[in-house]
């Protein structure tokens, strides 16, 4: 088993998993507490459309998916702000449009590409050094923005109080949506479009069951997000199953245990 991790692509897979797990775990606490779990899913489907467009244009899919998903994220936030439609309606509309576009782009492409399937279900073993660089940069960005946690948490707890305290709540809403979009896109290769929402939601939901404070919930969510990657990868290697599903199942198992512990 250990010899496997001496192979470069396995090392990249592990590193990618850890980075993505940590990023999704961190933002996940905000997604879950702001009741935006559907947003993760919506943006995953926006990523799908972006990837399909990239494949259609014969460009590196992630470079197209990133601006596409970020644009959709900002639009969703704007629609939420402007209209009295519920969050889920706004997201649902963009979700549907993204899927329709993605299917359209894929059909316009000559032949049914196996790599499209790889993006749907993840292919962590084909993570390239460039992918890792992007993930690393995103992680650095998140670290740089770490001091904003205190403002995001405050607005998440009570938006009105945060506004009364003169926090730029609206700007932060847009920033968070864009960051979630970025994390979603870089997660595509690790767990696939179909499972990204799980990666964002499950560690945070588990952490909440076990935490008394939001600070503890944040730290725990990051830990769960990162640490579940290793057993997931090991299980994938041993049983020859997709890494993405293995990781998410490990996380779901942890959630189930936490739920039982709470009773």
């Amino acid at each position: 088993m250990l010899e496997a991790f001496q192979l470069p692509f396995m090392q990249r897979a592990l590193l990618a998993g850890l980075l993505v797990g940590g990023l999704a775990g961190y933002l996940g606490v905000l997604v879950v507490q702001r009741r935006l779990s559907f947003l993760g899913d919506g943006l995953a489907h926006a990523a799908f459309a972006g990837v399909a467009l990239g494949l259609l244009l014969h460009r590196e899919p992630l470079w197209v998916a990133i601006p596409f998903a970020v644009a959709i994220a900002l639009l969703i936030t704007w629609v939420r702000e402007q209209s009295s439609l519920g969050d889920d309606t706004a997201i649902g509309i963009f979700f549907a449009v993204s899927v329709a576009l993605g299917v359209l782009f894929m059909s316009l492409r000559q032949g049914f590409a196996p790599d499209a399937v790889a993006y749907l279900f993840g292919s962590i073993l084909t993570v390239t050094p460039t992918d890792l660089q992007v993930m690393g940069l995103l992680a650095l960005l998140m670290l740089f923005l770490a001091p904003l946690w205190r403002y995001w948490a405050h607005a998440t707890f009570d938006r009105e109080l945060a506004l009364a305290d003169r926090l730029p709540v609206l700007w932060h809403d847009y920033l968070l949506s864009a960051l979630i979009a970025l994390v979603v896109v870089v997660s595509v290769k690790v767990v696939g479009i179909v499972l990204i929402a799980a990666l964002v939601v499950i560690p945070a939901a588990t952490a909440r069951l076990l935490s008394q404070t939001f600070a503890a919930m944040t730290v725990l969510s990051i830990l769960i997000g990162t640490l579940t990657v290793l057993p997931g990868l090991v299980a994938a290697y041993l049983f020859d199953v997709p890494a993405g599903s293995a990781i998410v199942l490990v996380q779901a198992l942890l959630f189930g245990l936490a739920l039982l512990k709470r009773r």
Binding site: E81, W149, R150, H154, F157, A164, Q212
Partner: protein, 256 residues
């Protein structure tokens, strides 16, 4: 002449098609205790939020249009020095699934952001103000498990920790039992006595307003009445505000 804590001049707010406030003019001297009464939808919360510089209502259909002037201690609301105004929002909007301890909520009032870790000095300050509102025993309790009245005290402590000169409360007694409500007025009056603060409080409890407030503002999108309780809580004003004077009101007014 006493300095003015709040000065509102011909202030109107419109959310799309809905006129929330119409040409409201008001002067509140420092040290006053003003009870704001009126029917639902009268714009009471909107008025309070205007003093905080929050003009966005919960209605998002249509643009927000605001005219008129609002001054708090002579400043536009967004330029009032931080800490001068304390705010206790309606507690009903709180998300109980958010993992928070009471002390964190109180410290967030001190720092104006959410605490990651709480230092000893902050803990001391928070405990002190919690004790003042009779909630010291709640300090490490999880927010989700608190009753309405207990939650109210925590929010009150949060609003008082920076010793504001103006305290704004939105229906603080709703969902609180009678004993809790009496306690609330006791704490508010004690705070006022100690700090000379000005208090504006939205309430549905007219009897309490009569007994504790130095002035009452009857609001129904417009100012229907404003002045000492005995002058304002009269039949004509109330029927104008509420369209009728119900039985409960009759009892409060004592047949005046």
């Amino acid at each position: 002449m006493a300095a003015l804590a709040v000065e509102i001049e011909q202030y109107s707010v419109r959310f799309g098609e809905f006129q929330a406030l119409q040409e409201v003019s008001l002067e509140v001297p420092e040290g006053a205790f003003v009870a704001i009464v009126g029917p639902n939808g009268a714009g009471k919360s909107t008025l309070l939020k205007a003093l905080l510089g929050l003009e966005r209502g919960s209605m998002r259909d249509g643009p927000t249009r605001v005219t008129g002037r609002v001054r708090v201690f002579g400043h536009p609301p967004r330029e009032v020095p931080p800490g001068w105004v304390g705010y206790v929002p309606q507690v009903k909007g709180f998300d109980r699934s958010f993992p928070a301890l009471a002390i964190e909520v109180v410290v967030s009032g001190l720092r104006r952001h959410w605490p990651f870790r709480i230092g000893r000095e902050e803990r001391r300050q928070a405990s002190e103000v919690l004790e003042k509102v009779g909630a010291l025993h709640l300090v490490n309790r999880r927010l989700g498990g608190l009753s309405g009245g207990e939650l109210q005290r925590v929010y009150l402590a949060r609003s008082l920790i920076r010793q504001p000169r103006l305290l704004l409360l939105d229906e603080p007694a709703t969902g609180v039992d009678v004993v809790g409500e009496a306690d609330l007025y006791r704490h508010l009056e004690a705070y006022q006595a100690e700090h000379g603060a000005t208090i504006l409080m939205i309430t549905h409890d007219w009897e309490a307003a009569q007994h504790h407030a130095s002035a009452v503002l009857v609001l129904n999108r417009r100012v229907v009445g404003y002045g000492p309780p005995e002058k304002v809580l009269c039949h004509e004003c109330l029927s104008q505000a509420f369209g009728h004077v119900g039985h409960a009101h009759q009892m409060v007014l004592g047949g005046r």
